[in-house]
């Protein structure tokens, strides 16, 4: 079959099972957009900014587990994707980003809209390609998807020179990839698994510390089975929310900087920490030398470079979390009642130090999150922006299923949540999708309201509007003696009017007793987005809070 490079590219995407992509056209990607005009079976969503396209592809990937695809033109189009690619990279999200590039004859000549995209994205991609020959397109697409979705997932960039999009090739999609330098190890080493059994057997106070890797490997079911069979409490990272049901009696909820007091105490007291698909990030560990000081460490991760990177490990197991958990479940035996004393201690901490906030007549953000949980029955997909809104959304919503929590954990990208919610809603059209936002971050990609309205997406945007860059203000209050440098957003526009101008619904909520009604009202709107402008108390803080550089049990509770 004779095709142009552009047609071959789209055909290759279809071979990879892609049916939707998010993008924005421009000069050097025009041949692909021209081919897209005629192609069947591929839906292109035009965002209003390339960054929106990248985050939408990422949100789609997180909500579905499939590879998200975004596309942009050369130069500024590609550099606008960069924040989205870096976001996906930090959180190990499978994504393929396609960018147009100037023709091969113009490369390196500082041509119009030329940027060294493979150079720029090299540190924030799992791999990237510059395609100069049309004939390479099918092989490269095949490799890119394979790399993006296997092992530790991540973004791959394919930068396609314009002439490679135009030239004709005899199209044949390869059946397999030949990548001698890329062979992810999935099966845990039997000797290490045996060593893990021994350690689990000796432990009296074990804790499971589960991260985003459990979700990436679709191992939530196995994690639940393992935890129940061994009667071991589970704390999750921010990225791991949904990997273990928050409603379960063994759940310790989130640990770390804004984790629950009982999770942090349990980690600091435990004698065995079983890390699964987690990477001992500084927001989890606090002061590293004092993290889990009494514990032996078992570390299960598909990326060998994560093992020993931040912390010395006693039993490393390299491999896929799902497979290794299956191996562990198959053979582990725990004598009944062995952890009872430990679980009693934890129950006491839970009782003494629950997550809580002041319950009075003020409209508090924590209450709003609890109400969102209530009206959605805990069944919604919660996307977030970054900052206080993100932490309250993490703390006060009860996540019970994987892929229902969509948030920029590693990079902490403000402006992520709304476009990610768009991607998530396309991936899960029947789900209720919320974007929990702050008044700062919602303004970073508000232009995507046009995309959401255009496609009649019933996304609910709950803005916890405190007229501040709240998390920065909180740090300034606690760590910089209330010098609120450049965090006041008192000149915010009227967000309700903005929503309405785009053709979305908008509501303003100022009182506690209006919250539930407004949320139920919003849930009834099915044909367009709805922005809820919650005017919350201005100087509410996120607690617990482990100040940076402290041990995680040295937290401020209120």
């Amino acid at each position: 079959m004779e095709l142009t490079g552009a047609e071959a590219l789209l055909e290759s995407l279809k071979h990879e099972g892609v049916d939707i992509l998010f993008g924005y056209p421009g000069g050097q990607i025009l041949p692909v957009y021209d081919a897209l005009y005629k192609v069947k079976g591929l839906k292109h969503i035009l965002t209003r900014h390339e960054q929106g396209a990248a985050h939408a592809a990422d949100g789609y990937a997180r909500a579905t587990g499939k590879v998200g695809v975004c596309m942009a033109t050369s130069g500024p189009g590609a550099t606008n994707l960069v924040t989205g690619i870096a976001t996906a990279y930090m959180d190990s999200i499978p994504m393929v980003a396609i960018t147009g590039q100037v023709g091969t004859a113009f490369l390196g000549k500082d041509s119009f809209q030329e940027a060294d995209v493979t150079g720029i994205t090299q540190p924030i991609t799992k791999h990237n390609y510059l395609v100069k020959n049309a004939a390479d397109i099918p092989r490269i697409v095949k490799e890119a998807f394979h790399i993006a979705r296997t092992g530790r997932p991540g973004p791959v960039v394919i930068d396609v020179a314009k002439d490679a999009q135009v030239h004709k090739i005899d199209f044949k999609y390869p059946d397999s990839v030949d990548l001698p330098g890329y062979k992810p190890n999935l099966k845990g080493h039997p000797r290490q698994i045996k060593a893990a059994f021994k350690m689990i057997d000796i432990a009296r106070k074990p804790v499971i510390y589960a991260g985003g890797g459990v979700i990436a490997s679709n191992a939530a079911k196995e994690l639940l089975e393992f935890a129940e069979k061994c009667n071991i409490p589970v704390t999750t990272t921010l990225m791991g929310l949904g990997a273990f049901p928050d409603t379960h009696k063994l759940s310790l909820h989130m640990l770390g900087m804004h984790g629950t007091a009982y999770a942090n105490y349990a980690v600091q007291e435990c004698d065995l920490l079983i890390a699964i698909g987690a990477r001992f990030d500084d927001r989890v560990t606090g002061h590293l030398p004092t993290f889990a000081p009494k514990a032996k460490h078992i570390h299960i991760d598909v990326d060998p470079a994560e093992i020993g990177k931040n912390i010395k490990v006693d039993v490393p197991i390299v491999g896929d979390a799902k497979q290794i958990l299956k191996d562990l479940i198959a053979k582990v035996e725990i004598e009944k009642g062995k952890h009872d004393a430990w679980l009693e201690q934890i129950a006491e901490w839970k009782k003494k130090f629950p997550l809580t906030y002041k319950k009075d007549k003020e409209l508090r953000p924590q209450y709003i999150i609890e109400m969102i949980d209530e009206v959605t029955g805990g069944e919604a997909i919660i996307c977030t922006e970054v900052g206080q809104n993100q932490m309250w959304a993490a703390q006060y919503y009860k996540y019970t299923k994987p892929r229902t929590w969509i948030s920029s954990g590693g990079l902490g990208t403000m402006g992520y949540g709304f476009p990610a919610a768009i991607g998530a809603q396309f991936g899960r059209p029947d789900a209720i999708v919320f974007d929990i936002a702050g008044d700062g971050s919602i303004q970073m990609n508000i232009q995507e309201m046009a995309t959401a309205v255009n496609h009649k997406l019933p996304i609910k945007i709950a803005v916890l509007n405190n007229c501040y860059l709240g998390m920065v203000r909180q740090w300034q209050e606690i760590l910089y003696e209330k010098r609120y440098s450049q965090t006041d957003m008192c000149d915010n526009p009227d967000l309700v009017k903005i929503a309405e101008a785009y053709g979305a619904a908008g509501m303003r909520i100022t009182k506690v007793d209006e919250v539930k009604k407004a949320l139920n009202e919003a849930l009834k709107i099915k044909d367009r987005p709805c922005l809820l402008d919650f005017r919350v108390t201005k100087e509410e803080n996120v607690f617990p809070f482990v100040p940076p550089g402290q041990a995680i049990n040295e937290m401020l509770i209120d």
Binding site: Q122, G181, D303, G308
Partner: protein, 160 residues
């Protein structure tokens, strides 16, 4: 502590940048880096001398392994490897000093590869320390220019 690592890579554009970028962004120190094709034209070999403790070396090795274009990474302990560095040294020379310079060149089993009225270029291939001591001895004549390749190394015997 210095380590010599061999990195076998696919000979593709950008692979050197990937390796160099990895070292700089993760804060690993490179002492020297030499790269060239191997017996297979599509495979290149980099010899990298790095400075760091065991844990750093482990991280470097693992992070290099993660690069798709990198096929193999291994540490070459000194006692198991043949190590060489090539240097070209242009030294000021006249009728009076040329004899003494020639003697030094002979002792180090080096070669004079270019002679002009007031200078000679010496080629020396040896272990790093030897190259350095030769350089020291030549300093008094006045070194005009010097270029070194960085270390290359191969495992002794039939291994790897």
């Amino acid at each position: 502590m210095k380590h010599t690592i061999s990195v076998i890579v696919e000979n593709k554009p950008g692979v050197l940048q990937r390796v160099a970028g990895l070292f700089s962004r993760r804060g690993f120190n490179i002492d020297s880096l030499a790269v060239g094709t191997t017996e297979k034209p599509d495979i290149s070999r980099m010899t990298i001398v790095v400075d760091g403790d065991e844990q750093t070396l482990e991280q470097i090795t693992k992070q290099l392994h993660k690069q798709i274009d990198i096929l193999k990474v291994f540490d070459l302990p000194y006692e198991q490897a043949v190590e060489r560095e090539l240097a070209l040294i242009k030294v000021h020379a006249n009728d009076k000093t040329r004899g003494e310079i020639t003697q030094i060149v002979d002792i180090f089993k080096a070669k004079i590869v270019d002679v002009s009225e007031d200078s000679v270029i010496i080629e020396v291939s040896a272990e790093k320390e030897k190259v350095e001591s030769m350089q020291k001895l030549l300093e008094k004549f006045g070194i005009q220019e010097l270029v070194r390749t960085g270390k290359i190394a191969l495992q002794r015997g039939s291994g790897k």
